[in-house]
Structures are given as structure tokens and as C-alpha cells.
């Protein structure tokens, strides 16, 4: 059995949304920053071994925005899950985390939201602990697109949750 799920990545610009997707889909990483405008759409098929289910993840890489309310709402149509990405090194990207998440919850009441702190390779564990108050209790996972740490885990956990 094969199912298709739409996942949308959101967050401020420069937080590494495209890099996370490239790491997951192509297993590559580039230090060069290329601004995403509009939306790029990728597809990757994965198998959930426990259920023996093939899942086709259609991943929407939205352009970064420092105000989520400016997001084009047509991009959100038919979304099964959101991944909200911020950059653990740049406070501007997580300062309004709570209100951004609330906006998403309001717009898509029944869609799951996974909050991810990217670029964890640039900071120490102690830094993450010290700043956990700033990131809020909302963060589900710290990842690194650069090293690949927990990137596969992020998408496979999400896929598994989506077919339950």
C-alpha cells in the first residue's frame, strides 16, 4: 500500500529549510546560501518497516518569511504536517516562535506541527540547555542539515506518525 503525504516546511529565511530537505532527499549539503522564493516541491518515497507501508512524502519548501502571516495561504492547502524550522544561533528566528505556531494552529486546526531547531552543530549542548527558555517548550528536535544529525529521524518519525 502506498500513501502520499504533503509536508510543508516553514520558518524565517536563512534557517536552513532547503538544506534540511536537500540533506533528506539527496543527502547533500552546501554552505552556499541561495534564497528560496515561492516554493520548491520535492518527493521522496520511504518505507515504514513496522507497518510495511510505503509513504510518498511530497515536501514543500516555502520561501522564508520573518512574519508567518505573510505566507501565501494557497501553499497550505491539503497539508498533512508542518515542520517549523528556526536557527538556534539567531534569536530573530525564534523570538516569535509561539505566536507563529499559534497562527499555524489557527489556520490548519488538525494539522500536526513539528518544531525543529536547526544548526545544532554550531552550538554546544550546554548552550541549548541554557537557551531552552528562549526556544520555549515547543521544540521537538534539534537537528543539523550540515552534519545530517537527526534529519532522517525527523522525516521518518513524521511519516510514521502520519500513517498511524
Amino acid at each position: 500500500m502506498k500513501v502520499s503525504k504533503k509536508i510543508v516546511l516553514l520558518g524565517h529565511f536563512g534557517v536552513g529549510k532547503s538544506s534540511l530537505i536537500r540533506r533528506f532527499v539527496e543527502n547533500t549539503f552546501s554552505e552556499d546560501y541561495k534564497v528560496t522564493i515561492g516554493v520548491h516541491i520535492f518527493k521522496k518515497n520511504i518505507t515504514i518497516p513496522e507497518q510495511g507501508t510505503d509513504v510518498s512524502l511530497v515536501i514543500w519548501d516555502l520561501e522564508g518569511n520573518d512574519d508567518i502571516t505573510n505566507t501565501r495561504l494557497s501553499y497550505l492547502l491539503g497539508t498533512h504536517a508542518f515542520i517549523y524550522v528556526y536557527d538556534v544561533t539567531r534569536p530573530a528566528t525564534y523570538e516569535s516562535l509561539e505566536s507563529e505556531i499559534n497562527f499555524l494552529k489557527e489556520k490548519q486546526k488538525n494539522t500536526s506541527i513539528t518544531v525543529v531547531g536547526n544548526k545544532e552543530d554550531l552550538v554546544t549542548k550546554a548552550y541549548l540547555k541554557q537557551n531552552s527558555g528562549n526556544f520555549g517548550s515547543l521544540t521537538d528536535l534539534y537537528v543539523s542539515a550540515k552534519t545530517g544529525d537527526k534529519v532522517d529521524l525527523l522525516f521518518s518519525n513524521l511519516a510514521e506518525a502520519l500513517i498511524k
Binding site: 502520499s4 504533503k6 529565511f13 536563512g14 546560501y33 541561495k34 534564497v35 522564493i37 515561492g38 516554493v39 520548491h40 516541491i41 520535492f42 518527493k43 511530497v58 520561501e63 522564508g64 501565501r72 494557497s74 501553499y75 492547502l77 491539503g78 544561533t89 539567531r90 534569536p91 530573530a92
Partner: protein
């Protein structure tokens, strides 16, 4: 003909396709993508997977802007419009190729985002550096505070020991103790000074002082020091120098002695020359030139830029001791006067350090206006009751020994607020002055001071309080004043400093 040209040169930018309600492509002009036919729309590109649920028989227009499509090895950035109809007509899909327009937008966004991110990163780096600097200064202040208690003990008891009956060998030992602890004190003072200066907390005072007297005193001390090292000491003080000038005498002395110490340190043979001359004397300003020349090891050209940096020592000779802070302090202090320190040097032959500093100089500056902090102890018809609030046994003993040797004081020692307040409130024996350690292990001395100032009896709450502390940053001093502390005794202190501060504050 025209039709042929139009056909040949028109680049199609819009593609029209008709779909059925399941998402199969029924018809397409294939203007952009030739293979856009007889397929399920969802198989063409993953974007179109979200189209299928929207294919219903209702009048509706859905626009998707700036969608990147990569189909049949052709990449475009497009706006996509899906039009559905309520009368059962099949849905219409229109793809607008707006690649050129969006590429321009991408370039603008790239510049803008990079600029915002770079400025955020720069701001973060600045914040990080400030935090690091602040941590360093706090660390140094706390660390030097911890060193000051034991050092007070060493200095006090070395002083007391030197006044007992000692044989010659013992006197030599005490002399070594004395000079070593003096050196240690100088290093701690330098480290604390640097932390105060680097945190921007140092302000120079402008008070009248006897400039010629200060120069003569420095000359006298360094002539002896130079001769003890077998060096010649030359000096020249311009006759036109004003006797009384306004400025920060303490910091000027620090600049000059640091320069002379540096010259002494790096000169093994030859001489040290100390010249002071008047550049200009105007209505209210005197510009004075200071110069210290030595015939020491000199400096290599590449070292000239680093000698004024904190903790830098360009000479790796282990026999030359120091923290590497002396010249850094000189540079900072001279710069606070809006001047600069200059150095010229020849490696192996010696160096000259010079600076021009402006002072206040007006005929109205008189010696009798020079403020003196010195005050003799009042002649006593009775002994004074001093209350010491201190939990360090070393400091307790030091104060006890100094006051006991003087014979004018009774000393009570307490270590907590309750005992302090109880002792001050004792009506049978009035406390004349409180010596208060600010950083007790379990209590804050400034909190106790606040409680004293709230006591019901006027003479009790007005008792003079002297803070004993190593925390003498500008904001600390402001804080002490605000909570009613009358004076501050900086740790480590010696006998005369303790007696002076008591004399100044006794009523």
C-alpha cells in the same frame, strides 16, 4: 510574412490544459511542455498532487504563485491557475511561465536576506564579545577580591613582625616577605585596574595637586632604585613647569611609575632618563611633555604594536617578572586624557616612551586648595568603640592587631546582622564607628548597613560606616554612597590606611 515571423519568434509563456475530475489530462496545447498529454496530472510533477482534490464541479479559481516546476528537463518558475466550473465543464489548468520576472525578484531577495542575516550575526558577535568581556571583568574582580583577604593578613603581619625584636637574619627574611607581598599587591592592583579600565568604569578626577612635589618624589624613589641596580639616573624638569596643576595625581603617578618601572625592568647596563617639559601654557591649560628613555634591551619593529596589549610580554626572559599589564595601563590612562603614548626604540640599544598630557592650569589654583584626605586621630579623652563586622579570621586578626597597637580603641567583632544590630543598639556602650566587610560568606554587608540606617535611635542609625571591600568599581562606590556608607577602605589595606580611614570618619 508577419504571421510567419510571429510563429517563428514568439516564445510561448502560457500553457492551457483541460483535465477530467480524476486529474487525467484530456487536452493540452503543450506550449511549455510537449509531453503534457494523456497522463495523470499527479504523475507530471509532485506539485500537481494537490490539484486532484480541488477538481470539483464548482465555480472556483485557485491561484498558486511562484511555483518552481522541473518537467521534461525544463525548469520554470510559474504562476498556476486552476479554474473549475459549476456547470459540469471540465477544469482548466493554466501555467504562466514567469521565470524571468521571478529571477529578478530572487536576486533582490538574495541581497536583502544576506544583508539582514549578516547584520544579525554581527550584532550577535558583538553581544557575545561584550558578555565575554563582562564575564572576564567580573571574574577578575571576584578573583582579586578573594586574594585580597589573605594578602591583607600577610601585609599587616609582615608590618607588625618587622616592628618586633628581630636578629639580622630574621630582618632579612621579613624584608623579603615585605617586598614579595608588595609585588603581589602591585600585580593584583594592576589586574583590577585593567578590569576597571576595560569595562569603561574608570573616570579621571580633576583635583589641584602639587605637581613639582610629585615629580620630585618620583625622581627621589627611582634614583635610589636605579642606583641599587647599578644604573645611572638622569632627570630634567623644565623650570617653567607650573607648581600646582589640576588633574588626577594618582593616575599620573601610575603612568610615570609604570614607565619608569618598565625602563628599570629591561635595563641591565647604562642609564634611565626622566624628562618633563612644558609644551604650552595657555589661559586654562598646561600641555606637559613626559619622556622616559632607557639604554635597555630595546624592541624589535614587529613588537612595537603589541607592547601596549594586556598580558603581552615581548621579552621571553624568565628573569624579568611582571604581568605584562604596566604598559597597557599606561596606554589606557593616557588615552583617557585624550592623548597618546609614543614609543621609539632600537633593538639592543634602548627605548624612549613619551606623551603629552593636558592639565588644568589657572593662577587661581593654590596649594591651600589642595584637598587632603589625611586627618589625625582626635585626641582622646576616652577610647573609641569600633565594631568590626567581618567573618574572615585573617582580617579580624589584622584589624585587631593594628587597633590594639594604637591603644585608642576598643574593638568588638561580630559576623552576622543580628549581632551587629544588637551591638549598635546597646545603650550602655555606644559604637563610634562600624567597619563593615561587604562580602560576608552568608550575608551582604550592604544589607546590614541598610538595616543600621533604619534603627530607631538617631545616634545609632547615624553611626559612621566604613566599607571594607575589593569591589571599588564606579557603580559599587555609587551604591555604597546611596545606602548610607560613609567611606570605603580598599582591601588589601595596611596599618596607616586603616587608621586614616577611621580618623577621617570618627565624629
Amino acid at each position: 510574412m508577419l504571421k510567419e515571423y510571429i510563429k517563428k519568434y514568439t516564445k510561448p509563456l502560457v500553457q492551457y490544459s483541460i483535465l477530467d475530475f480524476d486529474g487525467n489530462i484530456l487536452e493540452s496545447d503543450n506550449a511549455l511542455f510537449p509531453e503534457f498529454k494523456k497522463k495523470h496530472i499527479g504523475d507530471i510533477h509532485p506539485f500537481f498532487e494537490i490539484i486532484t482534490p480541488l477538481l470539483i464541479a464548482e465555480e472556483n479559481e485557485t491561484i498558486f504563485s511562484c511555483i518552481h516546476l522541473n518537467i521534461e528537463n525544463k525548469e520554470i518558475t510559474s504562476d498556476i491557475l486552476l479554474q473549475t466550473f459549476e456547470d459540469g465543464k471540465h477544469p482548466l489548468l493554466i501555467i504562466h511561465d514567469l521565470t524571468s520576472h521571478y529571477n529578478n525578484y530572487q536576486t533582490t531577495a538574495q541581497v536583502r536576506n544576506e544583508s539582514v542575516i549578516n547584520s544579525q550575526i554581527l550584532e550577535l558577535k558583538n553581544t557575545y564579545l561584550k558578555e565575554k568581556e563582562s564575564f572576564k571583568n567580573t571574574f577578575i574582580a571576584n578573583f582579586s577580591h578573594e586574594l585580597r583577604d589573605p594578602l591583607t593578613g600577610i601585609l599587616t603581619f609582615t608590618d607588625i613582625l618587622s616592628k618586633t625584636n628581630l636578629d639580622l637574619q630574621q630582618k632579612d627574611y621579613v624584608q623579603i616577605l615585605n617586598s614579595s607581598s608588595g609585588f603581589l599587591k602591585k600585580m593584583i592592583d594592576d589586574i583590577l585596574d585593567i578590569s576597571i579600565i576595560e569595562s569603561g568604569n574608570l573616570e579621571l578626577s580633576i583635583e589641584p595637586f602639587n605637581f613639582i612635589e610629585l615629580l620630585n618624589e618620583i625622581k627621589f624613589n627611582y634614583k635610589i632604585k636605579a642606583e641599587q641596580k647599578g644604573l645611572e639616573f638622569h632627570y630634567s624638569f623644565d623650570e617653567k613647569l607650573p607648581e600646582i596643576i589640576g588633574g588626577d595625581a594618582k593616575r599620573l603617578r601610575q603612568v610615570l611609575t609604570n614607565l619608569l618601572d618598565n625602563a628599570l625592568k629591561f635595563t641591565k647596563d647604562g642609564s634611565i632618563t626622566f624628562n618633563v617639559s612644558l609644551n604650552q601654557l595657555r589661559a586654562r591649560k598646561a600641555s606637559i611633555h613626559f619622556e622616559v628613555t632607557d639604554t635597555g634591551v630595546g624592541l624589535k619593529k614587529e613588537d612595537l604594536d603589541t607592547i601596549f596589549t594586556s598580558f603581552s610580554q615581548v621579552n621571553n626572559d624568565d628573569t624579568i617578572k611582571g604581568t605584562g599589564l604596566g604598559l597597557a595601563i599606561v596606554k589606557y590612562l593616557v588615552e583617557l586624557t585624550k592623548s597618546e603614548i609614543k614609543v621609539s626604540s632600537e633593538y639592543g640599544k634602548g627605548s624612549t616612551f613619551s606623551t603629552n598630557i593636558n592639565f588644568v592650569a589657572t593662577p587661581s589654583l593654590k596649594l591651600d586648595k589642595v584637598k587632603s584626605n589625611k586627618k589625625d586621630l582626635p585626641s582622646a579623652s576616652r577610647k573609641y568603640n569600633i565594631l568590626l563586622v567581618e567573618d574572615s579570621q585573617i582580617t579580624q586578626l589584622s584589624v585587631l592587631k593594628i587597633l590594639a597597637s594604637n591603644g585608642l580603641f576598643f574593638l568588638d567583632i561580630v559576623t552576622n546582622p543580628e549581632d551587629a544590630l544588637a551591638r549598635i543598639s546597646n545603650i550602655d556602650s555606644e559604637v563610634d564607628l562600624v567597619l563593615m566587610d561587604i562580602k560576608l560568606k552568608e550575608f551582604q554587608g550592604d544589607d546590614i548597613a541598610k538595616q543600621i540606617r533604619k534603627l530607631p535611635e538617631r545616634h545609632q542609625r547615624k553611626v559612621p560606616i566604613v566599607a571594607m571591600t575589593a569591589k571599588v568599581f564606579k557603580e559599587d562606590l555609587k551604591h555604597y554612597k546611596k545606602i548610607g556608607i560613609n567611606d570605603v577602605l580598599k582591601k588589601p589595606f595596611n596599618q596607616s590606611q586603616l587608621l586614616d580611614v577611621i580618623a577621617r570618619n570618627l565624629k
